[in-house]
Symmetry: C2
Subunit: 355 residues, 2 copies
DNA sequence: CGACATTATGATATCGATAACACTCGAAGC
DNA sequence: GCTTCGAGTGTTATCGATATCATAATGTCG
């Protein structure tokens, strides 16, 4: 009777809901809170009639389930965490979309984070995510700090690494060999008669997929006996369209007789092509240019861009699927589990030999 | 003694952490759990020495704070929810990035959802988000279902609507008038001497920003006495690059003498330009084309694309900033609060009159 | 018709942290 | 020397749902 008449916390604004709880809904209907809780999950054995009355009450009162309370006692957070290098890159936003779609109707929600291609940022984010006790986690790539690996091991949840084939996988992998894919593109273009190959990529090793593509290029060129490739590094990954344009200028200054240039991604390839056109060069004709990733832009632009198509969306879907399997499965922990995702060369106008 | 010797849940894999709690860390250090809790937040008055010992123990044991437990008792989830139409559109992913950046070091985490431009999906997502008890929510646009509005009102948390100026704002707004912005572009191009205006956009009213741009176009053309605009609708929003290409074909078939075409977004403008080039038309020269949104592609492509630059990233940052203000403020609930974000016409090659 | 399974529901303990308040102890003030 | 204060720490209740076990009502079968 002392502090009953005035609420402790005055933060509430007029019209605010006074934190409605399950118990109040229960009282309103004349059942126990437990029954209301059951009514919210289809599995429970609540009579159709009771459930209906409860749901009407929920509607009338405007009650919204509180999962944070529920997850504490059920020990299931309902979260899946995913870390991507950047959401402002359509390849990764496609993957994020794939994850989201695969999670639909599973009752799991996606917690997304951006690492900005930095392992330290990834470490921070992993910790932040684990504090929410996700039931599984999806990472991009296979390079993680030692502490990150330790935390993941301790967490005891399934981990999926994507977009690469890590040398030392943590748990599940859904990806492909970036170096093999780039090598395949080199061979396809060599098959068309190109001989003098150039390459454009970022400067540092931050972007492990970028480095792998570069080494795949290098290896393939040498294996074909086409001498060392002409490599230009420009800008900190991820390199932009604009940097692609600047890079091709450097490359052509240094090696004017280059026949075909492969770029670490379609974005830089696009920038390179546009810069060439702006300078009056013909693409193809004077120079052929190819990218990697098959972004939407590449099929549309003129000339359309030869590239490697990667199933970005599928990587997301499958990564989520592997996670769901692991969560459902009895936890047999069958060691490493690797899902290879496809890629293919898409030959388009930008490397058309007949031009 | 029946199921004591074998654990119920075999889900745990070898090497798993046996759910370490704060109490165990506390026991290890020889303090109370409360002190450990305090050590995790800088505000608390824990002696430097104790804090150090606690953090060493945390490190040694590999303890990770459990926020879900904490948020239940502190009644602060540490979440901000944000809904965008699509993450696969760089305008919105830029906004998401802005929100993320603004939230850095605030201890708040972003819960992101995609509505796919559908109000019903938005309603579902709002409910899903509210179940996590976010401390604030950021929405795109001002069209919401009645139930969504009711839930938001009941939730009693600050709401920010973005990217538009809703007629009936819920709470805070961070945006601009899409129709005014498009009208400005029309006037700028009319000022360059263009007279016969065409417009390309999506078919339905799902995308409210698209509709507003369309009506801004229409109004401006009429006000300038340039007759009704030539409007082509193509595809369900958001319309793709490819659809932009198809749309311009229809438009030019129907009105071959069109001088300039405005598109609902840069993506469709890009598709339209590329299609024209593919058909041997000169852009500009034979036809001028402009977009909306100033995507990265528009400054790079050849010809570069005239457009409206929108501060996508800033919208995100400011939306988050308004939310933080509201959370800090004593909850005076000072009615509506509208933050206008800038936009500007960017004239580029694609509408160059001298070409 | 009695033993037993099945269905629908309730009571109570609990998840793991934090709020709120209590307490100890040494320093400061008069 | 006694009161007052604040820094540092502990104790207990609690957040709001769910796991678990108990119980009442109903149905089944030989």
């Amino acid at each position: 009777m002392k502090n009953e008449d005035e609420p402790k916390d005055k933060r509430l604004k007029p019209g605010d809901a006074q934190k409605l709880t399950m118990a109040e809904v229960a009282k309103y209907v004349g059942v126990s809170a437990m029954t209301v809780s059951r009514a919210f999950r289809q599995d429970a054995s609540v009579s159709e009639e009771t459930r209906k009355r409860i749901m009407e009450a929920v509607d009338a009162l405007g009650y919204v389930l509180d999962l944070s309370a529920g997850s504490l006692s059920s020990r299931r957070s309902g979260f899946i965490a995913a870390l991507v290098p950047s959401i402002n890159n359509s390849n990764f936003s496609d993957t994020a979309r794939g994850i989201t779609d695969a999670l639909e109707n599973t009752g799991l929600q996606l917690l997304l984070g951006y690492t900005d291609y930095a392992a330290e940022k990834e470490e921070e984010l992993i910790e932040a995510m684990l504090r929410r006790r996700p039931e599984g986690i999806i990472l991009t790539g296979g390079s993680h700090t030692a502490r990150a690996r330790r935390m993941l091991a301790k967490a005891g949840i399934p981990v999926v690494e994507t977009w690469e084939l890590p040398e030392d996988p943590i748990n599940h992998v859904v990806g492909f060999s970036n170096s093999e894919a780039m090598a395949l593109l080199v061979r396809a273009l060599a098959g068309q008669g190109y001989r003098k190959f150039g390459y454009i990529g970022g400067t540092t090793a931050r972007d492990t997929r970028g480095s792998q593509r570069r080494s795949g290029f290098q290896k393939a060129v040498e294996e074909l006996g086409l001498g060392p490739g002409r490599m230009i590094s420009f800008g900190v990954p991820p390199i932009t369209m604009e940097q692609g344009g600047q890079a091709i200028v450097s490359l052509l200054e240094r090696w004017p007789d280059t026949e075909v240039v492969l770029c670490v991604s379609d974005l830089s390839a696009f920038g390179a092509i546009m810069e060439c056109k702006r300078r009056g060069m013909k693409v193809p004709g004077d120079i052929a240019i190819a990218g990697f990733g098959d972004y939407e832009i590449s099929s549309i632009c003129h000339p359309s861009i030869t590239t490697i198509n990667v199933d970005c969306y599928g990587i997301g879907r499958q990564a989520a699927a592997r996670l769901l399997d692991a969560l459902q499965g009895s936890g047999e922990a069958t060691g490493d589990d690797i899902t290879l995702t496809g890629y293919r060369v898409v030959l388009r106008e930008s490397t058309d030999r007949s031009a």
